[in-house]
């Protein structure tokens, strides 16, 4: 179901249709080539030795026995990855994470790597490397890390804070947002609810492990085939870390089996390049699932306090949140993002949020789909739900009374432009799910969510083929179907059919720099650049038609895929089709193309609201999702099926996190569940069909009104599920995931107290 919130909408021919995706056949027939599906002649197998300790000083590493093993072509340690960071602390942290330099900072931290002729040899070589560790005390819990002054996770930890302030040493950064006077606001409140929440760490859970093939030549050039969300960014970072010229490293992005933010950071790629450089041969490095869990970025574990004051009419008078996010051993922006998004859905007179990044002995936190926002929303939306219960008010009505609108000052600073939260809430209100009666042990939860969009550097090229078809080359990696969406955009602008346009992802030598597919920017930015590139190509096409007709170009217009002559003098000429003009291109000036190199601006933002119906088994604590609805503003859905897919996928990831997904660490600081058996993402039978409603409040900053939609769908689910369980059981849930043991324990505690 689509809801067009504006009556004045553009008419589209291709945009808004649902054709078959262009990468679909390759994927369902197994022909699509992912990170591990590429091979080069003479290729070696790379494997990584990882720390079994959560925190340990590396006293020495003896690689001599491994190097002496027949079939081993290279063994590397941090010594083979010298510091080229030139004082850039962030870059040095990336290097340190790829290969521990002085200390192993988490269970799974890479300490050495080998390249050998086959996997068995490489595995044997790993066993021959002797690492002398001095085990150090560790801390894996966010609140414990804040208390700890003795246990410093990272020696740089003091660099960002003033020691005079006596800030705990594991604080990486503190960010504050807000406006007004919260104390005055609380003083005016009729009701104040204050609660603390905890969220365990979750992983993106992409099905494809990290994999790459790296080849560095003696002349300083290199090739990297890799599964990534941003091959251009990978190129820059890898070249910088390896001390290579950026333009001499060519990076090709493979098909990608999910990323969700986890493939925006480099992990094994610099290691593979260093192995190849040392061995003088190409190296393939593929992570096991265990390595993915132990050694690549999960999201932050978090601990959050929220205090909200309201009037008896349900208007928020004051709101405060203190949000503590684990960032692993390295710096992060996670506290900041949590603090920015926590109250972004609401127009609040007095608001203050403080976000803190806390260093802990867990893997480096990576972006995970709207990073930090889901747990912030869990805390804030849970308190709002409790307020609605205490005011005996419909929780949807409470949201209506506080929702941000066009011109509202956001809780994190800027003033919102054209936004669609109210339209989203209206669509929720009219949805039939709200009228389905609930039985015993069942509950309904509602929650809202917000996420930013980003624009950034974007390049596209459109080439017209001799037969009048078009190849569109884009540089934003297609994670969720964006190639097909871009074909729709190019077809729309050119006025030809979707199946006449083929979109491919160019490698780093083919296009200018493209920022990574992150921040819900892929479709927004690349569609903008595509429209520009097609307009430029149309300019060329008009010139060629003018030449063919021997009339002034100003008398040629482009309509419905054809050049048409206008004016009294030429208006009776038959139109020239794209194919006819393309065929004559060799005689009229050569190949016909259009290009666009832009910094995409004019981003919108996307709001959503979710409704979750659950049934809780009071004897086992198990939760069954009965019904689930996602309503979100897409601005303009270019390919509605993929927008719905994003809505459903985000909801499912959020539901998994809400119910079962968590990193379980032992007292020894080791990860206990580094596999899909005990890190429980949902299976199909766990879920109902996720219902979706696309609301379209066009983004005025984009020619078609597009908003990025990929991340917002994971923001509300933790809260929506928690509110549903809390209402089903009568006990407020404050700790995700709400696994059966945790829910049963909460029910038992409530009986006792």
């Amino acid at each position: 179901m689509n809801i067009n919130a504006k009556t004045q909408i553009q008419e589209f021919r291709s945009v808004g249709t649902r054709p078959v995706r262009q990468d679909g056949v390759d994927k369902v027939t197994g022909r699509a080539r992912y990170g591990a599906d590429y091979n080069m002649p003479g290729q070696l197998v790379g494997l990584v030795l990882r720390s079994p300790h959560a925190h340990a000083r590396i006293k020495s590493i003896d690689t001599s026995a491994a190097e002496a093993l027949k079939g081993v072509k290279a063994v590397i340690t941090a010594a083979d990855l010298p510091d080229h960071a030139d004082g850039d602390e962030g870059l040095l942290e990336i290097l340190d994470n790829c290969m521990a330099r002085t200390k192993a900072r988490y269970d799974g931290h890479a300490v050495a790597a080998v390249a050998a002729i086959d996997e068995a040899t490489a595995r044997k070589a790993l066993g021959l490397i002797r690492v002398d560790y001095e085990v150090l005390p560790h801390v894996t819990d966010v609140d414990e890390a804040l208390k700890s002054t003795a246990n410093v996770v990272h020696e740089h930890a003091t660099s960002r804070v003033d020691p005079e302030q006596n800030v705990p040493l594991n604080v990486h950064a503190t960010e504050e947002f807000g406006h007004g006077d919260i104390e005055a606001g609380f003083a005016k409140s009729d009701l104040i609810v204050e609660r603390s929440f905890k969220a365990e760490q979750s992983h993106q859970g992409y099905i494809e492990p990290h994999a790459c093939v790296a080849s560095v030549n003696a002349d300083g050039t290199g090739d990297l085939w890799v599964t990534t969300q941003g091959h251009f960014s990978y190129r820059i970072v890898c070249a910088q870390l390896l001390g290579m010229d950026v333009s001499k490293l060519r990076v090709t992005s493979s098909e990608i089996g999910g990323g969700f933010g986890g493939k925006t950071h480099v992990w094994a790629e610099p290691v593979a390049l260093a192995l190849s450089r040392k061995a003088g041969r190409p190296v393939k490095l593929t992570m096991s699932r265990e390595e993915v869990f132990r050694s690549t970025g999960p999201t932050s574990p978090a601990s959050i306090d929220v205090k909200i004051g309201v009037s008896n009419e349900g208007v928020i008078t004051s709101a405060y949140a203190h949000l503590r996010y684990g960032c692993g051993p390295y710096s992060g922006v996670w506290g900041m993002l949590g603090a920015m998004t926590a109250f972004a859905c609401y127009d609040i007179e007095n608001v203050k949020t403080i976000g803190i990044d806390v260093r802990i002995n867990r893997p480096k936190t990576a972006a995970y789909r709207a990073p930090s926002a889901p747990v912030a929303a869990f805390a804030v939306e849970s308190v709002l739900d409790e307020i609605a219960q205490k005011l005996d008010m419909d929780p949807l009505e409470l949201r209506f009374r506080n929702a941000v609108k066009n011109g509202s000052r956001s809780s994190y600073g800027p003033t919102f432009g054209t936004i669609g939260l109210v339209e989203v809430l209206e669509a929720v209100k009219s949805h039939p799910q709200l009228n389905v009666p609930l039985a015993a042990n069942q509950g309904r939860g509602i929650a809202c969510g917000y996420w930013f969009n980003i624009g950034g550097q974007t390049c596209t090229t459109l080439n017209i083929g001799v037969d009048g078809t078009a190849t569109l080359t884009i540089g934003t990696v297609d994670v969720g179907g964006s190639r097909s969406s871009m074909s729709l955009v190019a077809a729309e602008e050119l006025g030809i059919d979707y199946d006449k346009v083929k979109t491919v992802i160019g490698d780093t030598a083919t296009l200018g720099h493209n920022d990574t597919t992150e921040g819900s920017r892929g479709t927004f930015s690349s569609s903008m650049a595509t429209i520009n590139a097609v307009k430029q190509a149309i300019g060329v096409l008009r010139e060629r038609a003018a030449k063919m007709w021997e009339i002034p170009v100003d008398d040629v217009v482009w309509e419905k895929g054809c050049a048409r002559a206008v004016g009294e003098e030429h208006g009776n000429l038959p139109t020239l089709s794209l194919a006819e003009i393309a065929k004559e291109a060799p005689n009229t000036g050569g190949p016909i193309a259009g290009h666009s190199e832009i910094v995409a601006e004019g981003v919108g933002v996307s709001f959503g609201a979710h409704i979750c119906d659950v049934e809780v088994d009071p004897e086992t604590g198990a939760t069954k999702i009965l019904r689930y609805l996602v309503v979100q503003d897409a601005g303009r859905a270019i390919h509605p099926a993929y927008v719905e897919g994003q809505y459903q996928g985000g909801a499912v990831q959020g539901i998994g996190w809400a119910l079962n997904e968590e990193y379980v660490y032992g007292a020894d600081g080791r990860l206990q569940n580094a596999g899909f058996l005990d890190y429980r993402i949902p299976v199909c039978s766990d879920l109902p069909m996720i219902d979706t409603v696309i609301v379209e409040v066009p983004n005025p900053g984009h020619p078609y009104g597009v908003r990025g939609v990929g991340e917002t769908p994971i923001v509300p689910p933790l809260a929506a599920v928690a509110n549903a369980i809390s209402r089903a059981t009568g006990v407020r849930m404050t700790h995700v995931p709400m696994s059966p043991p945790r829910v049963l324990a909460a029910l038992e505690n409530a009986k006792v107290t």
């Binding site: 595995r123 004897e619 604590g621 198990a622 379980v664 058996l677 005990d678 039978s685 059966p740 043991p741």
Partner: protein
């Protein structure tokens, strides 16, 4: 590593008897291959028993049913006679892994893997199943609960292998059931489980009962006291409560990533009640 695929039990026994290294039997491979890929075991000999015709059969015997060690769990699910007689055993076997795994895995393998959380084992223990073991010194028959000794360890002597699992024939007014708890709906490992087998009088009074619990002790636990709580009752509320209490009391679980001690002790009682109700309903319907 040597791989062999014998065509007879005698040949398999010979191979195993002649091996001095680390020999493994390959039936479905759903545990063995995972352990090999994970680098946990490096077999010197793998004896694949899937080409041994008699181990691939489900037969009715004069005493009941003979299930060859290489019969897959999916095949158990397709056997109408087993489904009718031992629905609890079949439903347990059909909970293991995923549909794909069930097309490969076997209950003999599930037993010999000696996991306390094995799904088919509590059902087999409740059913009073017997295990046919062959080895260098001939064959022997033992109770299913005597096979697992501790996690990963069995009572099989070197060179011995399970040839078949035998189940009794099913009298009237009797049936069984198996229920496990997992946080998901499938593709998971039991946090706690219960298998119960009941024989009733024509009027519905329980004559005999066997209760077995999974994932709450180092091996599958047969709880005779819980069974006694049911005998002579018609599964009234008091009997169910007594069943739950005795099961919770008998459970000796551990805290781990899949559940806490308190959670497992509590839930295993709930599962026992639900399993007893299901077995009782089936037994009443089996006239």
């Amino acid at each position: 590593m040597h791989y062999s695929r014998p065509n007879s039990v005698a040949e398999a026994v010979n191979l195993l008897g002649g091996n001095t290294g680390n020999a493994f039997i390959l039936a479905g491979g759903s545990d063995l291959l995972v352990r090999m890929k994970g680098g946990f075991v490096e077999p010197s000999l793998i004896v694949d028993i899937k080409a041994i015709a008699e181990l691939r059969q489900i037969r009715a015997t004069d005493k009941g049913f003979w299930i060859g060690a290489a019969v897959t769990c999916a095949e158990l699910g397709e056997s109408e006679m087993l489904r009718a007689a031992w629905p609890g055993v079949v439903e347990a076997a059909n909970l293991i892994g995923s549909k794909q795994v069930q097309g490969r895995c076997t209950i003999a393998g599930n037993l010999c893997n000696a996991s306390p959380a094995a799904d088919s084992v509590p059902a087999l223990v409740a059913a009073g199943a017997r295990v046919h073991i062959v080895g260098p010194n001939g064959s022997r028959v033992t109770a299913v609960e005597d096979v697992p000794l501790s996690p990963g360890k069995t009572s099989l002597a070197p060179g011995e292998m399970v040839a078949a699992i035998e189940l009794d024939e099913r009298p009237a007014h009797a049936s069984d059931a198996y229920i496990r708890f997992i946080p998901r709906t499938e593709m998971d490992i039991a946090v706690a489980s219960a298998g119960i087998n009941l024989t009733l009088d024509a009027d519905g009074t329980i004559k005999t009962a066997r209760v077995a619990l999974g994932a709450v002790a180092p091996t599958v636990l047969r709880v005779d006291e819980a069974a006694e709580a049911l005998v002579g009752t018609k599964l009234e509320t008091a009997a169910l409560e007594r069943l739950a209490e005795t099961c919770s009391a008998a459970a000796r679980p551990i805290d781990d990533k899949r559940g806490t001690i308190a959670y497992r002790k509590s839930v295993v009682g709930v599962l026992a009640k639900r399993t007893a109700e299901l077995a009782y309903k089936r037994a009443r319907a089996n006239s």
